[in-house]
Symmetry: C2
Subunit: 484 residues, 2 copies
Amino acid sequence: MSKKVRTAVTPTREENFPEWYQQVIKAADMAENSPVRGCMTIKPYGFALWENMQRIFDGWLKDYGVQNTSFPLLIPLEYISREADHVEGFATECAVVTHHRLEKNEDGSALVPAGKLEEPYVIRPTSETIIGEAMSRWIRSYRDLPMKLNQWGNVMRWEMRTRMFLRTSEFFWHEGHNAFANEEEAVADTTHILNLYDKFFKEYLAFPGIKGVKTPDERFPGADETYCIEAMMQDGKALQAATSHYLGQNFSKTFNIKYQNKESGEDFVHTTSWAFSSRMVGGLIMMHADDDGMMMPPRIAPTQVMILPILRDDADTDKIMAHAEATAQILREKGLRVQIDSRDMRTPDKMWDAVKKGIPLRVEIGAREADEGTLTHVRRDLGRDSKTTESLSDFGAHVQGILDAIHDDMYQRAKDFMDARIVDIDDAKALDKLFKKKHDGFARMDVAQLEEIGVQKAMEAHKLTSRCLPLADEGKKVLIGKAY
Amino acid sequence: MSKKVRTAVTPTREENFPEWYQQVIKAADMAENSPVRGCMTIKPYGFALWENMQRIFDGWLKDYGVQNTSFPLLIPLEYISREADHVEGFATECAVVTHHRLEKNEDGSALVPAGKLEEPYVIRPTSETIIGEAMSRWIRSYRDLPMKLNQWGNVMRWEMRTRMFLRTSEFFWHEGHNAFANEEEAVADTTHILNLYDKFFKEYLAFPGIKGVKTPDERFPGADETYCIEAMMQDGKALQAATSHYLGQNFSKTFNIKYQNKESGEDFVHTTSWAFSSRMVGGLIMMHADDDGMMMPPRIAPTQVMILPILRDDADTDKIMAHAEATAQILREKGLRVQIDSRDMRTPDKMWDAVKKGIPLRVEIGAREADEGTLTHVRRDLGRDSKTTESLSDFGAHVQGILDAIHDDMYQRAKDFMDARIVDIDDAKALDKLFKKKHDGFARMDVAQLEEIGVQKAMEAHKLTSRCLPLADEGKKVLIGKAY
């Protein structure tokens, strides 16, 4: 590709990756920091992406027999206290509701909290405890199992250092909570969900990841085993993209979730929980965007095709707009999400807007195209080099193929990037040497090495964590890297 | 209809309406009170209803050009303080977040709030203020108008006396917030949205309502005009089903939402806000359910057709299940939501379960039906009297017509009920007399009568409020009644 003399986003990834990330979000108009400490406002274009992700994956969960529910936003303090590991994991970062009223202060100049609650509540950081309490009442016999529940919603973990989508105090996710009669079914559920995530990320987000299990110190508080998908961002850091936890009988014993088995004895159920969050939007940006802005994976893009009418002479406006409408109509009939940018703006500004928003395919229609029944299209991922002029009917016949090719290429680029940056090493010395040379990627080594003091020291020195034991390596290897 | 000797729900509507309401929710397994004071847990069957309502109406909003967003759950105290009327309306009932951490107490026996916030936040009771603040930055010129934003989410108003769906501390809704260049467009938007609600309620929920405007004392805090839809429940009380507010320039002046107009001067925008909430689920119950449980309007029902295989003899099981599956397949191809109840339960229990859940159409398939290629169906609203046996192919050909007839009949019954209970009266004396006789409905009188001391006294004595000035009466009449 040709050298860029000027990029739509400043700074570039190479100049300052964290700041580039913020500027991509701004350039694509996806979100902004809100006046509420640590919380973001998701703007229409960013929210449309999240809605598309929700819609697709929600359908998959329903096909798997999961039912949506809604549990309260607030959780009694006492619930959090019950599960010891859970306390350690969450107690330090919760929003606490202590009052239920506001009153004017003495001089009437401001509102102050009043109506102190006898028992404070926390805004849910996650819902295992309150769902566990409900399951203890809802599950009576083996006939009630499996019970598969999910909710889409907001949760809150008070964060000191925040970054939009990646780490915010309030964030959005789905959280699934399933209960089973035995360990075998529960573990199978945990890995089934992990595979659903992997498939969804691959097929809709063009997002390659590595399936693995977490080491004990990186597990979810209260889990027996945490499965995860780890992905590599363009700065070589890891993003934990989704997790699926096998909780064993930890929560069922704490919350007394028992069932009458077929032999008329009583057993505790085995539970799982699993989630991905709006953090994935951040992951998509850091995996796919470039120095010109966002790059939306076509199958999830809010707008898949943007049509730009190139209006130079008023006399041509009608025929150009008519041809643009006809093009949009044909694409809509194919089920594509299409827009015509008819805003009162200069054409180059519209073009750059589509680039910065990462719209997968841009179609340009000027007077000549209108006359000839053709159009010119440009792939966002390949840029001007992919510029092609063809007839509307030819384009209509293979537009889906172009979008699929963009998807495949985005996936392959990201996968090649990741694969090239996973370096096999043997020992502490090699680990230290690798990251001293500012390795932008992961190291892979025998899992037994994690016990070595030298390895632990090198990890601490370079701020590395064990990301996962890849399933592909059957638990013999560990991936080590920096992480978001 | 035949006299009922036994009802599936106890007590009946006549015996104890409020308790009947709670028992219908329990019998249909839609929701339950949660361990969190004033908050409910929405169970899968109740949530599926709410999801269907969301999905349909969200599509309509998108067609109208509304874009979904997500604003923070928490609102700075200072924002609430800015708009004086808004303070009066909301300050007394907010959940207040004052701490951001939990710590173990001195003896380590419990968790206590720690990390006191310098500035407390409230959990949003509604989002006019924080959206107003954002609009003041997002709107620059007339080119940015109209701006139409919506969000689906949870809000919280601390309630002392709660009732599931109708009045809970946390509830679910959509809240729309639009901004326009002038009053004319903003008022047109307010009524357009009101008409969308009315159409949605009528066409999907079989839910008749009266469109009107609120008297000043019943207006939304901060609104210039509140439009509403008032509906009548089966106890004759009113339910405010939806509201659409014209906010004038109240919020734009408070939050400094200005735009550059075409003449290059600056103007404040005119805003609107509008909502319906999960309260509508309560409204559906109180309008349509009967002494045997819930009655779901067919177009929004989570399950539209429930197929009951009547299994008496093991030898017949295969052919009955095969016929049930074939029936389900034909209905699914028509886009209907169908289930086969193959649970390990007695047939009468399954039958009553379908009745209590209010599934619009029940199909029974036994050995004879399987042999003959027929089925027997029963309408939930008409009961056994509507029992019909016919061939699967005949049924397939007109099942949509049956569901439409159920919808139309449910709407008409509710409308007839309401129309028969709106009594025209002239003065205070007549008002007092009407409600002394325990009138279960509304009174309609000249709006000027509201000024009369006698009318005010009668309203206070009978706990009546002005519900609305119906649009149909061009502001000359007022409806008075008890309300939820």
